[in-house]
């Protein structure tokens, strides 16, 4: 699905609202300032996925978008492994930046991801006026490309391109860099665009 310039603007605004709410929750959890980038929309051919996401280790907290559309795609909280350690260190009051991640970290990362994704979805669903629920979260700490590739392979609609809506959230004080990424199925994207157009041009 190709988006017009107006649709891109609308989707960017949707991402902006969702990411702003996610950034607020992250900021509260870290008791520190979190800056967010302008949301980016990338249309990526699967053959070029590696140009965007490499095989570096990262923590990914993944949710399937559920609700009125049962398989709407995915929402992903992406944190490089180094940032993930600094994030859980901050939350758990630890200091060693080079320690391996353990079960306690995994619980903390799942919780952070859950709160951020829920905030993102609550805000966007409220704006659009339909129900979007996150599935229970799944966490992987592994090659980022491998995780994204696995999600793309199990999307409902077979595709050669994916559309990624990503916003970077950065906490400079604790040197934590994360991305909140939405990867909608084509059916979900169509619904987003229709709802946004209705909002802009109420009949």
């Amino acid at each position: 699905m190709k988006l017009s310039a107006v649709q891109v603007d609308a989707m960017q605004e949707l991402g902006n609202i969702g990411a702003a709410h996610a950034a607020t929750t992250l900021s509260q959890m870290l008791s520190s300032t979190v800056e967010m980038s302008v949301p980016k929309i990338k249309v990526v051919d699967v053959a070029q996925l590696a140009d965007y996401i490499g095989d570096e280790p990262a923590a990914l907290v993944v949710f399937e978008l559920q609700g009125e559309i049962p398989h709407g795609g995915y929402i992903i909280v992406y944190i490089s492994r180094k940032s993930a350690v600094r994030l859980t260190n901050t939350m758990l009051g630890l200091t060693d930046p080079d320690r391996p991640l353990n079960e306690m970290d995994e619980s903390a990362l799942l919780e952070v991801g859950n709160i951020m994704a829920s905030a993102f979805l609550d805000a966007t669903a409220e704006l659009l006026g339909f129900i979007m629920l996150p599935s229970p979260p799944a966490l992987t700490i592994d090659m980022a490309h491998a995780a994204m590739q696995s999600l793309i392979a199990q999307m409902q609609e077979e595709i050669d391109e994916v559309m990624l809506f990503s916003t970077e959230l950065v906490c400079e004080e604790h040197r934590i860099d994360s991305d909140i990424i939405m990867m909608p199925e084509a059916s979900m994207l169509k619904t987003f665009v229709e709802r946004l157009e209705n909002l802009m041009n109420p009949s």
């Binding site: 992987t140 490309h145 491998a146 995780a147 590739q149 199990q154």
Partner: protein
């Protein structure tokens, strides 16, 4: 596709659904449920590698490297064009992990990819001389036709090892 290259050349990166034929190094990075399949000709010292994403093409012809059922014959025919005999081919594969059990419902795509590849190879009277598939972890696979067809596999925090 690439021409024979010196051994110190950077590997050709093979994206999802792509393939490469030649003698220089080639690589598929970050395989989750995808599979990196390599076919090496031990007489001609050339090889082919493909990055397979799904088991079935269901009639789609535009990206033959993306599906197990079309990718296997693709590599065999590309090597045959360069003079390879079926009896000289050494086949290996790695990948096919299941990273997200929760979303798996009943589709373990990694496992289905591996099964489909084995079945199609059998139809072509070829068998795997090495494989490292399944598990939960991602893999990066490198293939060196000009170094005796060596295949190495690396996980997120492990060193590369040969299969």
């Amino acid at each position: 596709m690439s021409e024979p290259a010196p051994q110190d050349k950077a590997p050709v990166m093979i994206g999802i659904g792509e393939y490469n034929v030649g003698s220089g190094p080639m690589m598929t990075i970050g395989l989750g449920s995808c599979i990196g399949l390599t076919v090496y000709d031990r007489d001609l010292h050339i090889g082919a590698m493909v990055h397979i994403m799904l088991p079935e093409s269901s009639g789609r012809m535009d990206r033959p490297g993306k599906y197990a059922d079309t990718a296997v014959p693709l590599l065999i025919s590309k090597l045959a064009e360069r003079g390879s005999q079926r009896t000289s081919l050494v086949v290996k594969m790695a990948g096919g992990a299941c990273m997200f059990e929760y979303f798996g419902n009943n589709l373990n795509i990694g496992e289905r990819n591996a099964e489909r590849i084995r079945a199609i190879l059998a139809e072509h009277h070829l068998r795997l001389s090495a494989e490292e598939v399944g598990g939960k972890a991602g893999r990066t696979v490198a293939f060196y036709p000009d170094a005796g067809g060596k295949v190495t596999v690396r996980s997120a925090d492990g060193a590369a090892h040969e299969i």
